[in-house]
């Protein structure tokens, strides 16, 4: 009996999850009904129908009174006709029909509704009335994501309500990054971008008009989900009175468990008008948002690329115990750029002790610079990098490493990536700067990233990633003297 249950548990990650809140069912339902399902391929409902039928690892029920059966798949007239238990409903019907459909879901005992349909408060007074009617029906009897949202993407179980076709929006592989986006379109673009760069965004969500489920609750959920190691948030603005304080409290709590990186758009006065018309949110006063982020210990990004640069490091690297960086480079110029970028962010590049430099000098060619940055020059080899890493990184003089490897020089081979990956055993953060366009470089970079070493195409991006690790280390209290 016991052995049997163990076998069952190891079958999939999904079955290991303990369902403790309705938000577990939002991301990990055992069964989903699509209300407004359709075989018409390029419609919103059609893309979702295809996504779930082909990828979702659970039961799917299609609901649409127009069809009986298409390609051997049964269509139900109403959710009430489904005999089995349904955890979650994805609703893709015209706005005026949504209240009736949600009412049926409640009667059926569905726990969560993802309302994709638009045409509510975002379109003006009529829509706002409809949203209020919906709110009256919902009244804690069902949990609602949306309306007017792109919904949920879960790479682990194939739950995917993003209604953008696969050939237009790539789907990222399962991974440790979770995304909460204020904008549906931005969420779609981010996933496409992340898929192309092989960044594992395992979970993503957009909450649309936020009738019920909000950022704070989503953060709380991601804090508990052990598959998530870092949460990235794209924010335009909040809209309900008092919710800023609540979000601050929740963020503070979540940050004590795992890092949050936020990119807040709508920073300028010029943008605040656009934000208002976009989300029907009150004009966000950026200064106040920034205060909230700082107070909560959230790491603020300057743009989306920046957010994922930092997320990549936070998801894969241990936290540093201090702010001192070892730089190893095969280009003096890149070394200087890195020192600038690190210094601007308050990180140090300490000169190594004379005795340590003496050890390095004995093994390195006479032209190499051993102060830190360690400049191996154009005659660098894989072995020299390995020697410096193994000699300096474990010492108490440095807390992390920034490795610049311009792979265009002949002495470097793909084997360097193995040496760098092996240096993870020192349990200090390592980031790599690589730059170039040939396939050999791409192979080098892929090998590093697949083995948990983040690669950046410019020194300032790598420096920012190390800064984020240091900031989070301070917040977590692992830095000496903090």
């Amino acid at each position: 009996m016991e052995a049997q249950s163990q076998v069952q548990q190891s079958k999939s990650i999904e079955s290991q999850l303990v369902i403790t809140s309705p938000l577990d069912l939002l991301f990990n339902p055992r069964s989903v009904a699509i209300i407004g399902a359709t075989p018409r391929e390029n419609s919103v409902g059609g893309v979702i129908t295809k996504n779930l039928l082909t990828k979702f690892k659970g039961k799917v029920y299609l609901v649409n009174p127009k069809y009986d059966e298409v390609n051997g798949v049964k269509y139900y007239k109403s959710i009430l006709d489904v005999q089995d238990e349904v955890d979650s409903a994805v609703i893709v019907v015209p706005a005026p029909t949504v209240p009736k459909v949600v009412d049926e879901c409640i009667r059926k005992g569905v726990k969560v509704a993802i309302i994709i349909s638009g045409g509510f408060s975002e379109v003006g007074e009529e829509g706002a009335k409809l949203e209020n009617e919906l709110k009256r029906i919902v009244q804690n009897r069902i949990r609602v994501l949306g309306p007017n949202c792109i919904g949920v993407y879960n790479a682990f179980n194939g739950l995917d309500t993003f209604f953008l076709p696969e050939d237009r929006m790539g789907r990222p592989k399962p991974g440790p990054v979770a995304l909460i986006s204020n904008s549906g379109a931005v969420a779609g673009a981010i996933l496409d971008w992340a898929a192309r760069r092989n960044i594992g965004v395992g979970l993503a969500v957009n909450y649309g008009n936020k009738l019920d489920i909000n950022e704070a609750e989503l953060l709380e959920y991601f804090a508990r989900d052990s598959r998530v190691r870092v949460i990235v948030m794209y924010m335009e603005g909040l809209k309900y009175p008092g919710e800023g304080r609540k979000l601050l409290d929740v963020m503070r709590e979540v940050v004590s468990i795992k890092p949050i990186v936020v990119y807040k758009a709508g920073r300028t006065k010029a943008a605040s008008g656009a934000v208002r018309s976009h989300t029907a949110a009150l004009a966000g006063n950026y200064e106040i948002y920034r205060a909230m982020l700082r107070q909560a210990g959230v790491i603020e990004a300057d743009n989306l690329t920046d957010a994922f640069d930092m997320a990549k490091a936070l998801a894969t690297q241990p936290l540093p115990r201090g702010n001192r960086v070892l730089i190893i480079t095969d280009s003096g110029g890149m070394g200087i750029q890195s020192v600038d970028a690190l210094d601007m962010r308050g990180l140090q590049v300490p000169e190594l002790s004379e005795s340590l430099q003496e050890i390095l000098r004995k093994q390195l060619p006479p032209l190499a610079v051993t102060r830190n940055p360690i400049d191996l020059t154009g005659s660098a080899t894989d072995a020299m990098y390995k020697f410096v890493l193994d000699t300096v990184l474990p010492t108490s003089y440095v807390d992390m490493a920034l490795i610049i490897a311009l792979m265009q020089i002949p002495g470097l081979t793909i084997n360097l990536s193995n040496y760098i990956v092996e240096a993870r055993r020192f349990n200090k953060p390592i980031v790599v700067v690589s730059f170039g366009g040939n396939e050999y470089v791409a192979k080098f970079e892929n090998h590093l990233e697949e083995n948990g070493i983040p690669v950046y195409h410019a020194p300032h991006r790598a420096a920012k990633a190390l800064w984020a690790l240091y900031e989070y280390a301070k917040i977590k209290g692992v830095v000496r003297g903090w």
């Binding site: 008092g242 919710e243 304080r245 107070q295």
Partner: protein, 234 residues
């Protein structure tokens, strides 16, 4: 939460602004250091009360109708003895008669002068989404022209307060720039956290300024030398 009697009284009288002595009284209730003060009705009372407060003092007109006291000649600083106090009372009376003849005068605020120090501002607004937000900056042009201000959302912890003080570019002035003394940073941390408490417990305050908060050298404290509270019905 029971409304603070000072705030309640103002609302009852239909005022949206606390009078000077009410503002100082409110600060005192929250242990925010303010210079010794008293509300007096005339010159005789002033001469009596000043014996407890001690010179030098400042004299300010208190009126629900006057917003900018100094614009109407309603403020006289650095009064050093009884003669100067007598003529200051007279001077303000004449100024008000000329420049604000219809203003109701509730009395005069007699206030001990604070020694010179680093002038800072601790302010607050109430945002519909975030609630009370506290701002901190240096006095004078630094806040207005350079916008060298930091913000935190109430409740502000000691750690938050320390971070917001250190966040402004002018923070160097706290550390003894050139020949200036090192300032009492912890006294400001204390004021900010007490101010946060005051705001939390008084949701009717929609805007507030402690301007200036004068920061003395380390170990000697900081004082809110002037305060302004705007209240609303929410």
């Amino acid at each position: 939460m029971v409304m603070n009697p000072i705030v309640a009284k103002a609302l009852e009288e239909g005022r949206y602004k606390l009078l000077e002595h009410e503002s100082f009284e409110l600060l005192r209730q929250y242990n925010i250091p303010v210079p010794d003060f008293a509300l007096v009705q005339d010159v005789n009372e002033a001469l009596k009360v000043v014996k407890d407060i001690g010179y030098p003092v400042a004299l300010k007109v208190v009126s629900p109708d006057i917003i900018h006291k100094s614009d109407v000649g309603g403020v006289i600083l650095n009064i050093n003895n009884d003669d100067e106090l007598r003529s200051a009372c007279e001077r303000i009376r004449i100024n008000i008669r000329e420049k604000a003849p219809y203003a109701r005068v509730s009395g005069f605020l007699l206030q001990r002068m604070v020694p010179e120090g680093l002038e800072t501002i601790v302010g607050a607004t109430k945002d519909p989404i975030f609630g009370h937000v506290i701002a901190f900056g240096l006095g004078g042009v630094m806040v207005e022209v350079l916008q060298d201000v930091s913000f935190r959302i109430v409740p502000v912890t000691e750690e938050d307060a320390r971070a917001m003080i250190r966040e402004i570019k002018g923070y160097r002035l706290f550390n003894g720039y050139r020949n200036m003394p090192v300032r009492d940073e912890e006294a400001v941390v204390y004021i900010i956290t007490r101010f946060s408490e005051l705001l939390s417990e008084n949701p009717n305050i929609v805007e507030a300024d402690l301007n200036p908060v004068i920061v003395l050298e380390r170990g000697k404290g900081a004082y809110a030398a002037d305060a302004r509270f705007i209240i609303g019905t929410a």
